[in-house]
Symmetry: C2
Subunit: 234 residues, 2 copies
DNA sequence: CCGATTCATCTGCCATCACAGATTCTTGAC
DNA sequence: GTCAAGAATCTGTGATGGCAGATGAATCGG
């Protein structure tokens, strides 16, 4: 009833039949970026994605426009749509932005985290542990995202969280590559400290925990030998 | 030959004939937002803008998608495209984000500001002074934007500056309203301190100057009586 | 066998058309 | 005069088709 027409979309479960197609496309692509299912330097095409997702180019292009605004892709006119490669400069800046914004978001959200949400956070953390044991990179990255945004989003979504999401969209593809080289064995779960801080309503401790988590996860890269691509593009 | 058909585009100088239309449209609309030429709560339509700018809906839609990703507009499906109204919560968050990011960007850029750029900064600052005297709000806001981003962009554009630009896109329309009520007479030029800090290569002083400028400009609003709209829109 | 040129293909880009829901104005009944 | 029902209009949305430039492969000349 929701939508009388549905030509051949059946390929995908269709997250929300009521929402506009371009919105669903953007959501699907965002998930791919955040969970690292696209590779830095990789090429995307409107026609390819359109066919793959069972829609026309129009909503795909619109979604890609948004992703371009979010820095997740670069649209090179008359050329190609590429997932940006990582450079050392870019990575450091990304890291610095996370350090500036995420602890702030966590502290802000802290008073709004009730028992129910804390339980959900714990559950996600357990899933992360399982993903690490199973070596399931994809599940790990999704869980990590969920963990952080379950905290930040306790305070109704605002500009701050939006900016943070933009950062995640950008480093997602790269992290996947890094994790792929390091392996999940080296991943440690730094979230315990954050969970304790939340339970104790200790803002200062939560700030420290989030900061430590960011530095730990992304510090892995320094230890694993940087795998920056040369900035051949442009 | 470039385009065999050109109904009535002549209205605008066409910033860059080589760039894709949607890019130019986005640039034009961005300018309008940053200089406060759109009003919070105001409605935009793809067809209206398309006609106004002499293009078809398609590139306009794409530009609006980007602006939506940047939080400058909200696209309500099957309804309207609106410039978000300001709420106290939103405003505080915006302010906080500016405080977090802009001093950082300034300090980062400081080593890259050469004499030539500093001269340009001084020139813009003079233009701002003139705009205040003349009561030209539009010129003031453009100048203020130029001043800040002449500093931040000394370091080649990165994620940090991009995030800041997103913030400016969001509070531009609102600041215009505020300035419109307060009048330019109350505007003080806080940039002198920043310029001195740059000349002296004093990072700490520059950080303080930028922070003071942000708080001063946006603090005006508190003093002028908040004119927040009720958050009627879901 | 190697290099340069041409041609087929693929790309993003944009205009156009059609559709369905929402809004607004008109119209009608009481 | 008031209010509700219906029609005209306006909205975002999405599919389609075609254009120009870029890419890459096949072809031709050496």
């Amino acid at each position: 009833m929701a939508s009388t027409r549905r030509p051949e979309t059946g390929a995908r479960p269709a997250p929300d039949a009521a929402a506009p197609l371009h919105s669903n496309v953007h959501a699907e692509l965002s998930r791919r970026f955040i969970t690292g299912r696209v590779v830095p330097g990789g090429l995307l095409s409107t026609r390819g994605l359109a066919e793959e997702l069972g829609v026309s180019q129009t909503p795909v292009r619109e979604a890609l426009s948004r992703l371009a605004a979010e820095g997740a892709v670069q649209i090179r006119s008359k050329r190609r749509i590429v997932v940006p490669t990582m450079t050392e400069l870019r990575f450091r800046e990304l890291l610095r932005c996370r350090e500036l914004l995420e602890p702030e978001a966590a502290v802000r959200a802290l008073p709004h985290i009730d028992g129910k949400r804390l339980r959900r956070i714990r559950r996600v953390d357990e899933a992360i542990g399982a993903a690490i044991r199973d070596g399931d990179l994809h599940a790990y990255m999704q869980g990590n995202f969920d963990f952080h945004f379950l905290i930040y989003d306790a305070q109704p979504r605002g500009i701050l969280n939006r900016l943070i999401e933009i950062l995640w969209l950008q480093f997602g593809p790269y992290m996947r590559v890094v994790y792929g080289r390091v392996g999940t064995a080296n991943l440690t779960d730094q979230h315990e400290m954050a969970i304790r801080a939340i339970g104790a309503h200790d803002a200062a401790a939560l700030r420290r925990a989030i900061l430590a988590d960011i530095r730990d996860g992304m510090g892995l890269i320094g230890k694993s030998g940087f795998v920056y691509a040369r900035d051949t593009d442009l």
